[in-house]
């Protein structure tokens, strides 16, 4: 019982649990005050309606008039913007609609944009309704006009033919007219004005002719009727407007569209602009007037734009309403609200699933940008831009530029690409190129740089893995960003952010094996506990290694200083170059060397290391056999100094060491490259050791993920017990055929001593010590690593630590 209380108390004080409890309390309060809250989650279609108009002014007094959307019981203008440069804009509303008027003396493009919520409208007409009695206030809707020839003989004749038997019943009368026009009058794409009689005579008409004929027949029967003009909102770009009719029944205007077959019903995508027999546009003659409507419909959580007015209480607290204060639109507010969740998705995919991505939160940002374009278009555009940046990187690489100016050049190239795209297709399409600005060009540039580097290292599997992981993460984040359910939930219940925070904290404290690690270590899972990367980071690196010591471990010069002081053998320093002034001195030194290695002091994973194996009359010869001249070497030094290879991008120093020649015993395994020995020590005790032998696949590097062979070493004997390459068990070297199993590592006991001494010099609790065996000097420490990898487990065919209990590690 006592234990249970302790366990309970421990779990309660965890921040994640506390946050969840706080969120639950707030949620309970919220729901108690507003039980119907979740009913507001319903998605609503919002229409982005853009009307662009253009004309040539000819320096005379100009005017352009058009009807603009107006809010009423059925349609609601959520937001609108009008851009018309130097033209004066004015609008006035009357019973016919809202008239927008632009006046001025210079031609200009006019762009009207609004976001509109629309509802369908439906009426159920009682079949026993009678044709209404004439009223003074409806006379205007019964009169004949120039285009609606109510009293024309042909209208009378037509009515005689189609009149229903119950000619005093409103519904049969309307239906007779409706069916006649809908079925007998053929719909024709007439663009001009068609009056009722012309429509009748031709038996063909567009919506306006059909509408006028309907109105004429309705008015003839004493039914007040009028034309209505508007636009059918369908995704895309078009120039056609639409007309339908309304008849007045008991003070309600009943919509009827004989063209598209809607009786007493108006679909949600009908935007009403005006009533009456009017033209949508009126303007100064001979000005080459042109117009276009662009419509984009998108489902949006109603909680993002429908707010309870004048209620500032917690009950009606809406995060989206508060975010309105930032001036963002609903779409961006939705995206903004989803950022924490997208971050959680990213964290989950990386830390629980184990996906690798290009950049940590770059996929999230790309997904956010895709909200404006749609996932596939966005990905295509993004892929295109990255490909362009990659090609730019390749081209600029040939120009032998320094890294930072090269990245800057890529940013400029990507910007130029946007401008060129806009110039050629920006005016011709409805696509909003502005949103591309959301694709962060800086990130794109870094991404291109990284892909270029991976490609040049022929790490195509890495590109594929990271690319796939990036695509999956983008898709998952996109799903989160575009979910109306989640947007609505986070807007209405912002306390859910506490739950997200709690989950992020829980994942941050989670030490389980990532899903992909189950596959990676599948062959050794049965051989005891395996350490995953989360556990390595939390239980080993974070717990045992102080930040200060970790930073020392990344500083090669300082590490070597400490190692020397502790009596650990390390490679000599030919030169240390901290400023550009030191470069000339360094060049004088290295000209006298037959071979040397130039390293960035804060570099990692072999980045920026230049190996010179010798000199001839042409210049220096690098490890690939290529000739490198002095200028190239000094430029490389400059790049190192500029921080191009340092882990944090800060200023760096150049370290030049003599070229090490490996011990002949190791040459027997592979006589190229430099083999090294990695020892993993935990609190001074050697836990695991392996010998990394280069192969042709690894391009002469002792890098396991590039294909070097990993040889597990028995700590007690120094003999190789197990060998593998890329996770596959092998017995002999793939290039030389040398027998690997049973190989005795020379100087083994000395190596162990050196490793232990190293942990005294750099007292990291969890440390990887890389040691090479020089042909002349014997074992030398190459570097120490505060975050040694866990692939050694696959090499030795078992988990990192034999004794889980003593190592205080937990099962995955």
């Amino acid at each position: 019982m006592k234990n249970m209380i302790v366990i309970f108390a421990r779990s309660v004080v965890k921040p994640g649990v506390l946050l969840c409890v706080a969120a639950a309390a707030l949620l309970t309060m919220h729901f108690r005050q507003s039980p119907q809250l979740l009913s507001e989650l319903k998605a609503e279609t919002l229409y982005d309606f853009t009307m662009t108009m253009s004309f040539d002014g000819q320096n005379s007094d100009l005017f352009v008039e058009t009807f603009l959307p107006k809010s009423d019981g059925r349609q609601e203008i959520i937001r609108e913007t009008i851009r018309s440069a130097e033209l004066q804009f004015d609008d006035r509303a009357d019973s016919n609609g809202r008239l927008g008027v632009w006046t001025g003396s210079k031609s200009s493009d006019i762009k009207y944009h609004s976001t509109i919520a629309l509802q369908p409208l439906s009426f159920d007409l009682d079949p026993s309704l009678s044709v209404p009695a004439s009223r003074a206030d409806t006379q205007v809707y019964l009169q004949a006009t120039q285009g609606i020839q109510v009293d024309h003989d042909e209208i009378t004749e037509l009515w005689n033919q189609i009149a229903p038997s119950q000619a005093n019943h409103l519904v049969p009368v309307l239906q007779s007219i409706y069916f006649y026009i809908n079925e007998e009058i053929e719909t024709a794409p007439f663009t001009g004005y068609t009056d009722a009689i012309t429509a009748l005579r031709l038996q063909q008409a567009s919506c306006n002719g059909k509408g006028r004929l309907f109105v004429a027949l309705a008015r003839k029967n004493g039914i007040p009727a009028r034309l209505v003009g508007g636009i059918i909102l369908e995704d895309g770009s078009k120039r056609t407007s639409h007309q339908w009719v309304e008849v007045l029944v008991q003070d309600h205007w009943i919509p009827i569209d004989p063209t598209n077959g809607h009786f007493a019903f108006l679909p949600a995508n009908y935007l009403k602009l005006y009533v009456g027999d009017k033209a949508l546009f009126t303007h100064t003659p001979n000005i080459n007037f042109d117009f276009r409507f662009t419509i984009d419909q998108q489902q949006t959580a109603s909680a993002l734009f429908r707010f309870e007015e004048n209620d500032q209480s917690f009950r009606s607290l809406n995060a989206a309403e508060l975010m309105k204060l930032t001036g963002l639109n609903e779409k961006l507010i939705g995206v903004f609200l989803m950022f924490p969740l997208a971050a959680l998705i990213t964290v989950f995919l990386r830390n629980v699933i184990g996906l690798k991505t290009f950049g940590i939160f770059m996929p999230m940002l790309v997904a956010a940008a895709c909200i404006q374009t749609g996932l596939f278009t966005g990905l295509a555009v993004f892929g295109g831009v990255v490909a362009f940046a990659f090609l730019g990187e390749v081209w600029l690489g040939k120009l032998n530029l320094l890294k930072i100016p090269r990245l800057a050049s890529i940013i400029t190239l990507v910007t130029i690409l946007f401008i060129v795209l806009l110039f050629y297709v920006g005016r011709e399409t409805s696509f909003e190129f502005g949103v591309l600005a959301l694709f962060p060009v800086v990130i794109i540039s870094f991404l291109a740089e990284r892909i270029h580097k991976m490609a040049s290292e022929r790490d195509f599997v890495g590109i594929l893995n990271s690319g796939t992981g990036t695509l999956i993460t983008i898709s998952c984040c996109f799903a989160g960003f575009s979910s109306v359910t989640l947007q609505g939930l986070f807007a209405l219940l912002p306390e859910l952010l506490l739950v997200v925070l709690a989950l992020q904290i829980v994942i941050g404290q989670w030490t389980g094996m990532r899903l992909i690690e189950y596959f990676r270590f599948r062959k050794i899972l049965c051989n005891g506990p395996v350490v995953g990367i989360n556990q390595r980071n939390l239980d080993l690196v974070n717990r045992l290694n102080s930040t200060e010591l970790l930073s020392i471990a990344t500083d090669k010069i300082e590490t070597k200083r400490r190692l020397r002081l502790a009596g650990v053998p390390v490679a000599n320093d030919l030169a240390v170059c901290r400023t550009h002034q030191d470069i000339n001195k360094m060049m004088d030194i290295i000209r006298r060397q037959n071979g040397f290695a130039m390293k960035p002091n804060y570099g990692s994973q072999g980045n920026g290391i230049l190996i010179i194996t010798g000199q001839d009359e042409r210049g220096f010869i690098d490890s690939n056999g290529d000739v490198v001249n002095s200028i190239d070497i000094s430029r490389h030094a400059c790049e190192i100094l500029a921080g191009s290879y340092s882990q944090d991008g800060g200023e760096d120093a150049v370290l030049v060491e003599p070229l090490l020649r490996q011990h002949p015993a190791l040459n027997a395994l592979a006589d190229f490259g430099l083999s090294d020995i990695r020892l993993i020590l935990k609190q001074g005790s050697i836990e695991a050791a392996m010998l990394r032998v280069p192969t042709s696949m690894s391009d002469g590097k002792a890098n396991l993920h590039q294909g070097a062979t990993g040889l597990a070493i028995n700590i007690d004997t120094g003999r190789v017990t197990h060998a593998s390459q890329k996770g596959r068990a092998i017995n002999s070297h793939p290039d030389t055929g040398a027998q690997l199993i049973g190989f005795q590592v020379p100087y083994w006991s000395e190596i162990q001593e050196i490793a232990k001494l190293s942990t005294e010099a750099v007292p990291l609790g969890y440390i990887g010590v890389d040691i090479c065996i020089d042909a002349v000097r014997g074992p030398l420490v190459l570097e120490v690593n505060g975050r040694p990898g866990i692939e050694i487990q696959n090499v030795q065919g078992r988990g990192l630590f034999q004794d889980v209990q003593t190592s205080e590690l937990q099962y995955a």
């Binding site: 989650l41 319903k42 998605a43 279609t45 019981g73 009357d94 019973s95 509802q119 369908p120 409208l121 439906s122 009426f123 159920d124 007409l125 009682d126 026993s128 309704l129 009678s130 003074a136 206030d137 009378t156 004749e157 005689n160 033919q161 009149a163 038997s165 119950q166 000619a167 005093n168 029967n221 029944v249 008991q250 003070d251 309600h252 009943i254 007493a264 019903f265 679909p267 949600a268 489902q299 989950f348 629980v352 699933i353 184990g354 799903a479 979910s483 109306v484 359910t485 989640l486 609505g488 989670w510 389980g512 094996m513 899903l515 690690e517 189950y518 049965c526 937990q810 099962y811 995955a812």
Partner: protein, 623 residues
């Protein structure tokens, strides 16, 4: 081997995540389902004329078809018997059948509203023959359709005399009689209609009977008939509306009952402008102007073209003391197309709301109040009150029909005008009469309280204010009025409590804050009063009255220096404000700066040489 942490392992968490994603996707698909259908708005028939299909003839189908072919080929030519000869079916028939065919032709034409042609065919027969061959109803309909109402009446009469059980005939005849204002006769016909009809039609007959009784002013009989109608058609909104109207005219129904009948009408036929209009008019007539506001607003939404209704809404806004809202509405009306009579009403409304007294006088000279509608007359009353012509207003108010919705509101506006003109005794009589009749009107009680206060009857005033507050505690006017009434009788704590309660609902209500500040001044709690007035000042920085009140409080709290600063703000904006300058001069004096005070008094006299207060003060200091 990984049992220990299986529930929090990556596979388990991945499965959980997949389930969560699945759940979200399912919810997403549910929420995203577009409901393209809309809830249909039901529009029901409002007891129009009855129609019958004329295809109840015993004629063989081939002959009926021949008739329809003939009609479709006629192209508007006059129908003749010879025209039918072209049809073999007709030509081969016997003379009696041919008569039946022609009668059938007339009936079909009548049903198609081709009355001229129907009359041509049917009038060729004698009344007896029409009767015998079943066309007397169609003939009556034809005559009615042609506007020959007297002849139609006779034809209906002949028809129902011979067909005493023909339901549609009785109903349509009654409707015609009602249209001709022959309501008594309509009632007799409808009483027969009630006997011969059943179900829905019986309900309709009762409803029409009720309408006829109402037209004759017999609201009791109307109410009884309409109540009967409801028994047969409980879901018929217009009948409920008429029942409510009938009840509104009867004294034995309480306001609650009448309102619930209107509410029922609104519930069974939602969105019906006529119902909302009648309901709002009722509220208006009984002085419940605030209750009428949302209903009038609904009417404008449903039928935005109905100018008359919008004007009525504007009058309601004026009656409920919302002139700014009425002005905004007037602006809207001015953009609409209006008829001649409406134009006149808009002009009156414009003068009442925006015009000067001179303009109102000029308008009144032009208007002939005798032959005007109720709304126009009400407008003229308001214009008369604007120029202070109470006699004209009262005489016009007495002209209203006793059932007019303007009776109460007119008297109220007159009483309010009298009160403002200081004629509280006259106002009292009117208001007492009003509350005796319409005891549920909070604004009537409020003004009664104000008038009684003015007449130094604080206890009576308090009783009236209490009634007003009980009826409408959410109103700022009423809360303040009640609080004032309480203060007058010395119940200051309760007065403050009322204001606090109201301020909980509307914490930024300037009037309530000012009233509360007055309360604190009376309590000599100048600091608190000053705090409140500062809030009011923040809300209405350009209101010089508030600033002066603030300065006055500061002076009373012996903070003359602060008061001088406060007054300085007004004087900077309005240098000719002698009242503010006078206050500043006194404040300067209080600070001992006699020289500056004298200078200020002199400035006041420069601005207003007749300013007695400045003269006196200057004389006092100089003396």
């Amino acid at each position: 081997m990984h049992k220990k942490r299986r529930l929090t392992s990556a596979p388990a968490l991945s499965i959980l995540a997949i389930l969560a994603i699945g759940g979200t996707m399912w919810t997403e698909s549910e929420l995203r389902q577009v409901d393209s259908s809309a809830e249909a708005f039901k529009i029901v028939s409002d007891d129009g004329a009855e129609f019958e299909l004329s295809d109840n003839s015993a004629l063989p189908n081939d002959l009926k078809a021949a008739v329809y072919r003939y009609i479709s080929q006629s192209n508007g030519d006059a129908f003749t018997s010879s025209g039918l000869q072209g049809f073999a079916e007709y030509a081969q028939s016997g003379p009696e059948t041919q008569k039946s065919v022609r009668i059938y032709l007339g009936r079909v034409l009548a049903s198609k509203k081709r009355f001229d042609e129907a009359k041509l065919i049917l009038s060729a027969f004698s009344a007896k023959e029409r009767q015998r061959l079943g066309a007397s109803f169609a003939f009556a309909e034809t005559l009615k359709g042609l506007g020959e109402t007297d002849a139609a009446g006779a034809a209906y009469y002949a028809h129902i005399s011979q067909n005493p059980s023909h339901q549609a005939g009785h109903i349509n005849y009654a409707i015609l009689l009602s249209d001709l204002n022959r309501h008594q006769e309509a009632i007799e016909v409808l009483e027969r209609a009630v006997e011969i009809t059943s179900g829905d039609r019986k309900g309709k007959s009762y409803s029409l009977l009720g309408i006829a009784h109402m037209a004759l002013g017999d609201h009791k009989a109307a109410e009884s008939a309409l109540e009967q109608s409801i028994r047969f058609r409980p879901g018929h909104g217009p009948t409920w509306r008429r029942l409510a109207i009938a009840r509104a005219h009867l004294e034995n129904f309480s306001q609650t009952e009448i309102i619930s009948t209107f509410q029922r009408s609104d519930a069974v036929a939602p969105g019906n402008a006529s119902t909302k209009q009648a309901f709002s008019n009722y509220y208006f007539s009984v002085g419940r102007f605030d209750d009428a506001l949302p209903l009038y607003s609904d009417v404008s939404k449903i039928a935005p073209e109905k100018i008359q209704e919008i004007i009525q809404r504007a009058y309601n806004l004026i009656a409920s003391e919302r002139p700014s809202a009425a002005r905004r509405l007037l602006k809207k009306i001015k953009t609409q197309r209006v008829s001649g009579l409406e134009k006149q009403q808009v002009k009156i409304l414009d003068t009442v709301l925006n015009g000067s007294q001179a303009q109102a006088l000029k308008l009144l000279e032009k208007l002939d109040s005798r032959a005007t509608s109720g709304a126009t007359k009400f407008g003229i009353i308001l214009a008369s009150l604007k120029v202070g012509d109470f006699d004209n207003a009262q005489s016009l108010a007495q002209d209203f029909d006793e059932n007019s919705i303007f009776v109460g509101p007119s008297k109220f506006k007159i009483a309010r005008g009298l009160h403002r003109a200081g004629r509280d005794a006259d106002a009292l009589a009117l208001l007492e009469e009003l509350v005796a009749k319409d005891s549920q009107s909070p604004i009537y009680w409020l003004y009664l309280s104000r008038v009684r206060s003015a007449l130094k009857k604080p206890q009576d005033a308090l009783r009236a204010a209490e009634r007003a507050y009980a009826l409408y505690p959410e109103s700022g006017h009423i809360a303040i009025g009640y609080s004032e009434a309480l203060s007058m009788v010395g119940v200051r704590a309760r007065a403050a409590e009322i204001l606090f309660t109201y301020l909980e609902m509307k914490p930024k209500d300037r009037r309530a804050l000012s009233a509360l500040a007055d309360f604190y001044i009376a309590e000599d709690n100048f600091d608190r009063a000053e705090q409140l007035l500062k809030i009011v000042h923040e809300l209405q920085a350009d209101n010089s009255r508030v600033v002066k009140d603030l300065a006055r409080v500061q002076l009373r709290a012996d903070r003359a220096a602060v008061a001088i600063q406060t007054l300085g703000k007004i004087i900077a904006q309005k240098p000719a404000d002698t009242e503010a300058r006078l206050m500043r001069a006194r404040a300067l004096e209080r600070l001992g700066d006699t020289k500056a005070a004298m200078s200020e008094y002199e400035t006041i006299l420069k601005l207003d040489a007749e300013n007695e207060a400045a003269k006196t003060e200057l004389h006092r200091i100089g003396g």
